[in-house]
């Protein structure tokens, strides 16, 4: 099947990202064991899970920054593991990604940061480029901050600038890696609203990795809960909230003890206290 035919078939069933039987390990430690994930077109899909479960790794597998040990990772009908660097870059031009800390280029101001992908990939006349950049900055509410340097921005502002940069090439798929970490409630509310609004207004498909259950449940159409190297649960936010599974309940309701234990595995307390250190 040709690449375009594959893309059409991928579009036909409305699945943008398809993972089947995914296996991935780091230094022999399994991060994913036989994981299946579908990301539907036009939806905001949340990938949740306790810290260290490999949520960001999942994103890196989708974007081709990492290669799966086994299994299929398909984006728009293309098997990511078979793409060479040029094809991977072509695929990424249709994606936008928001990094945890924004990852703005520190030697460029806000305007140039947003203009960066356009300058690298297009030959737009300066006037048109200015129009596009200011439109995107307006969309995230930071047109007035266009001359500020990244060091002059708050965490929330930096993330919104990064969001403007992520959408400047009009991608079809937008990926957010922990977009709420370290944000105050106002900034968090802004980013949340932007995720939903941009997804609907621009007709995007969004993947949001987060462990902020309440916040992400408010905007997500569908959620995956990753735990213990597998998909522990999948469904709408309300279905997950009502789940009777101990594992899901512990995560969704923030219970301190449960299948994920409060205590890190340790030897006998008395024996460890009595034992001389070293």
């Amino acid at each position: 099947m040709s690449a375009s035919a594959r893309q059409q078939s991928a579009g036909a069933d409305g699945i943008v990202v398809r993972m089947r039987g995914l296996h991935y390990a780091v230094n022999g430690r399994p991060i994913f064991r036989d994981v299946d994930v579908d990301i539907r077109r036009g939806a905001v899909t949340a990938v949740m899970g306790p810290s260290g479960t490999g949520k960001t790794t999942l994103l890196r597998l989708i974007t081709g920054q990492l290669r799966a040990d086994r299994g299929l990772v398909e984006v728009e009908g293309q098997d990511v593991s078979r793409l060479d660097r040029a094809a991977l870059y072509r695929m990424r031009r249709r994606m936008g990604m928001l990094f945890q800390n924004g990852a703005l280029l520190t030697d460029l101001d806000v305007y140039e940061n947003v203009a960066f992908p356009l300058r690298e990939h297009t030959r737009l006349p300066e006037r048109l480029l200015r129009h596009v950049v200011l439109t995107k900055l307006q969309a995230v509410g930071l047109r007035g901050a266009w001359r500020l340097m990244p060091s002059e921005l708050s965490g929330g502002m930096a993330r919104r600038v990064a969001l403007a940069r992520a959408i400047v090439m009009d991608p079809g798929l937008l990926i957010y890696d922990e977009p709420f970490v370290g944000l105050d409630p106002i900034s968090m509310g802004m980013v949340l609203r932007l995720i939903r609004r941009l997804n609907d207004a621009l007709g995007l498909t969004s993947i949001v990795v987060s462990h902020d259950v309440r916040e992400i449940s408010a905007v997500a159409d569908f959620c995956y809960l990753i735990s213990g190297a597998r998909v522990a649960a999948a469904g709408t936010p309300s279905a997950l909230a009502d789940s009777t599974s101990d594992e899901v309940r512990q995560f969704m309701h923030g219970l301190p003890d449960g299948p994920v234990p409060f205590h890190y595995p340790a030897p006998d307390y008395a024996a460890q206290v009595a034992e001389p250190r070293g």
């Binding site: 920054q65 072509r90 031009r93 994606m95 703005l104 520190t106 690298e120 990939h121």
Partner: protein
């Protein structure tokens, strides 16, 4: 005999060879990207400014003092043989063939090399390089290559400035202070220094530019993305560059003499 070598030594040797291979591969990648990189000359000029122009003060100051010391020591030595008029020749050859390229490269590694390595390391630690890759922009072409080319272009220019200022410093001491005849100082230098001598310095500083630039961008680009990792990359840049410059200097001198 080989079997008798400790296992750790063999492992270290293997690791050293592997590192050398990775350096060579990275250099080939940079060289392959150079023709297209030169098309975006604005980026290279910016890095010539960062690595070269911003190193000017330290290079000029050091050149002046090295020249003055050469003037003093040279005068003291030459007057024992009654040939202090040859001071200009001795200083010029010493600076052009050896001290200019070598000291410039060592200073460059300490100032610009560390700045390059820590900048790239911090870019890696703050996901800026990963962000570029996600924007389908190759960070090696966009960020690493201009910095490497900036180093390669800057080094011979800085070495030339170092030698020139050094000559001025030697003249200041030899002619102005010690009373060597100015005419003799300059005319003997002009008569004895040949184009080959100048070219030896140019070739050396060009090679040092490649070496120092490569070490700095390699170590920075491949640094572990933590505060400790960036610090280690910076230290490694200075240590490897300095040893490499001295090693290459011996090899080049042996070949060109």
């Amino acid at each position: 005999m080989i079997a008798a070598l400790p296992r750790e030594l063999l492992a270290s040797l293997r690791e050293a060879l592997a590192t050398l291979g990775r350096y060579a591969f990275f250099l080939l990648r940079l060289l392959a990207a150079t023709p297209r990189g030169l098309l975006r000359f604005g980026l290279v000029v910016q890095q010539v400014h960062n690595a070269g122009a911003l190193s000017l003060v330290i290079i000029m100051l050091s050149g002046l003092f090295v020249g003055m010391v050469l003037g003093l020591q040279g005068f003291d030595l030459l007057q024992r043989f009654g040939s202090e008029e040859s001071l200009g020749v001795a200083v010029a050859l010493g600076l052009l063939k050896e001290l200019g390229p070598v000291v410039t490269a060592l200073l460059f590694a300490g100032r610009a090399g560390t700045a390059l390595a820590s900048e790239l390391g911090l870019m890696r630690a703050t996901d800026q390089l990963a962000a570029m890759e996600m924007m389908a922009v190759d960070p090696v072409r966009r960020v690493v290559l201009p910095r490497f080319l900036g180093s390669v272009i800057s080094m011979p220019l800085l070495a030339a400035i170092f030698s020139l200022i050094g000559l001025f410093g030697a003249q200041l001491i030899g002619v102005q202070l010690m009373g060597v005849d100015a005419g003799q100082f300059w005319s003997q230098m002009k008569g004895a220094v040949e184009l080959d001598d100048v070219m030896e310095g140019v070739i050396k500083s060009g090679v040092f530019g490649v070496a120092c630039g490569l070490v700095a961008v390699y170590e920075g680009y491949h640094s572990v993305p933590t505060a400790e990792g960036v610090g280690r990359a910076t230290t490694r840049t200075v240590v490897i560059s300095s040893v490499l410059v001295l090693l290459l200097d011996y090899m080049l001198t042996a070949v060109m003499l």
